[in-house]
Symmetry: C2
Amino acid sequence: MTISQVSKEYIELIPNLFKSFQRLNQKSSNLTHLQNQILEFVFMNHNPVTIKQISEGLNVPKQQMTDLLKRLFDWGYITKSQNKNDKRSFVIELTEKGKTSQQEKWTKIYQSFVNDLSKLDSEEQQDLQYALHKVNYLLKKMED
Amino acid sequence: MTISQVSKEYIELIPNLFKSFQRLNQKSSNLTHLQNQILEFVFMNHNPVTIKQISEGLNVPKQQMTDLLKRLFDWGYITKSQNKNDKRSFVIELTEKGKTSQQEKWTKIYQSFVNDLSKLDSEEQQDLQYALHKVNYLLKKMED
DNA sequence: GAATTTAGTAAATTATTATTTACTAAATTC
DNA sequence: GAATTTAGTAAATAATAATTTACTAAATTC
């Protein structure tokens, strides 16, 4: 086994998930593309994030964040509270409404996957579960 | 094993690839976000695609495509030729310049992955390769 | 083969995003 | 503790993206 062989498989994996990702990026309901990306980013991080983290994570200048977040706040998608460790910064979290808006998209991805699963027989489904589990475990380990 | 267990693992996989996907969506050099998405979409599809396919795939109205594609064409990223099977439609392909612009991003993802791999021992790397291979094989089978 | 649908273009208007410069106040550095 | 860096805000301008209406010409339908 070489490093390049594993990496090749990883690179191949990305297009296989492309359609699912496209769904996440699509704008839902009344939110713009960028607003969605922000919600998605916060949702994905599980923990509260600062404005700077969002700004850097999405490669959007912090100057733009002010207005974007203000609107998301006004519309009830996020909360914004002072960071206790650093009074200069703020911590952004999703409200229930914000979470729901994201979860809807995941539900669709889930359903679409379940639907496609019927193309595998039950042994293959079992194999897929095991392999996915392993991949998830090891990718998480790599992130630390 | 239940369907929901496999699906859960799949859903869990998506956040594990989130960072790699973020990189693909980031605007490179002098292209806007949407222009990038278009190149990415064409690149990912391997085969030539029609304007309609891009429009539907990215959920961007076809009216917008005209200008977007014109600019990408003028800048030498894509070619546009009449579809022989349907004279109403056009077929979009990437030029070498267009391909290169996308490949650069993949190279970075690749390098970043190789770097993180060092956090796994050699047995784990072997396991990861096998598991990724299986996942890729089965996900592809599901798409047919 | 007339009527309808489909793929794409055109143009105008509005809404978002991006970019630049300048500013506060808290945190760090020396 | 003065000087500098950092997180975020403010406001103006330019560039893109989104939306709407209207139009061609090829393909389908009946």
